[in-house]
């Protein structure tokens, strides 16, 4: 009997040790998000947490001054107005985008992307908008710019200030999607052998030619963006594709599984930071 008790207590002690130091390869999104945030907060002690969503402007005073002046008359205004009109315009069958979204699509940007248990995949806002169109007999929009950017700009605008609230449900497929996004983020690729993290975790605030690199924390909160370089609006899809081609990697198709998982990961680790889109970037 005494021997059995000793065995049991030894087993208990072993299990305590295991839970105190989980194996490093067991996925733990909550711990990831905390470590991710702490990394940036420690690296940039002067930047307020909610200011990370302002990307390069949180890192450079001169750029910030220029941006503040620009925001008085923001270049995304035309897209915002077009988005508002498009959002309210009915489809041929009389329904509108509002019928496809919770709360009529107003102030819901912070809940995207989410994991859809029925279809077993990550649903981004851009994908949801196009699914809404096809479900109502309309042709899908291009994911990268113009109409899609205007629509997401309007939806982001109605959600400004609301903190990202991305949930990872207790579903191994959701966790796998998160892990895939995380892997994509940290994997080096392309001729220049850069990962997303090489620029946006290792070097935010540093110059890449004339640009100031944005921190990965809160980087999606400002989407979609008007980029002066593009002379127009761009969606998250456009940003991912351009990032890949700039590092001379082969971009994936817009809204590919990898890109959606990446968006899921990046949004999750920015949980709690406010939506600030649409944004303006040089």
């Amino acid at each position: 009997m005494r021997f059995v008790i000793a065995l049991v207590s030894a087993a208990l002690a072993a299990s305590v040790i295991v839970s105190a130091a989980p194996a490093s390869d067991a996925p733990d999104p909550a711990a990831d998000a905390e470590a991710f945030r702490n990394y940036f907060v420690t690296k940039f002690p002067k930047v307020k947490l909610e200011d990370f969503v302002n990307g390069p402007y949180s890192m450079n005073k001169d750029m910030r001054r220029q941006w503040q002046e620009k925001e008085e008359f923001p270049p995304y205004e035309f897209a915002l107005e077009a988005g508002k009109e498009m959002f309210a315009a009915p489809f041929k069958n009389g329904k509108t985008y509002a019928d496809c979204f919770e709360n009529g699509g107003i102030g819901v940007r912070q809940n995207f992307p989410y994991f859809d248990a029925k279809q077993g995949e990550v649903i981004t806002l851009e994908l949801a908008l196009n699914r809404c169109r096809t479900a109502n007999g309309e042709a899908p929009l291009s994911y990268v710019k113009d109409e899609m950017a205007s629509l997401t700009a309007y939806m982001a605008f109605t959600s400004r200030g609301k903190p990202f609230d991305i949930k990872i449900p207790d579903d191994p497929r959701a966790l796998a999607a998160y892990e895939n996004g995380k892997r994509y983020f940290y994997t080096r690729r392309g001729q220049l052998n850069f990962s997303c993290a090489s620029c946006h975790v290792q070097s935010p605030g540093e110059r890449l030619r004339a640009e100031i690199l944005a921190p990965a924390l809160g980087i999606l909160n400002a989407m979609p963006i008007y980029r002066s370089e593009w002379a127009g609006m761009g969606t998250i899809s456009r940003r991912f594709i351009t990032c890949n081609s700039q590092t001379r990697a082969v971009p994936e198709e817009a809204q590919s599984e990898d890109y959606r998982d990446l968006e899921y990961f990046l949004s999750y680790v920015s949980n709690g930071l406010p939506i600030s889109g649409p944004g303006a970037r040089p």
């Binding site: 270049p75 107005e81 002379a231």
Partner: protein, 103 residues
């Protein structure tokens, strides 16, 4: 269609600061589309701001000005509540104009 011109004019003392944003493709005529065909030049040639019938700002623009141009300038002699008329004409003969109240 909504106006292609956004204006904000704010009087501060005897100076009025004007900001305007204009929606226009401003094609230079040197760019090709995805099929390799040249996109014909299409740009604003003249932009004018008038206060009480008097021209306070005139810009002669060409193809080198960027898409959706933004203008900011200040002038003297206007008061709050005055009207400012803004108009542009492009190389294809299209035009637009709007009036804004000085705030």
């Amino acid at each position: 269609m909504a106006s292609t011109i956004r204006v904000r004019a704010i009087a501060n003392g005897d100076t009025t600061e004007v900001q305007a944003l204009i929606q226009h493709p401003m094609d230079s005529g040197f760019v090709k589309d995805a099929q390799g065909a040249v996109i014909p030049a299409h740009f604003i040639q003249q932009l004018s701001f008038e206060h009480n019938g008097k021209r306070v700002f005139l810009a002669d623009w060409g193809p080198a000005v960027a898409k959706d141009p933004y203008v900011k300038f200040a002038f003297k002699g206007a008061a709050k509540g005055d009207e400012l008329k803004i108009s542009w004409v492009d190389n294809k003969g299209a035009s637009d104009s709007t009036t804004a109240k000085i705030q």
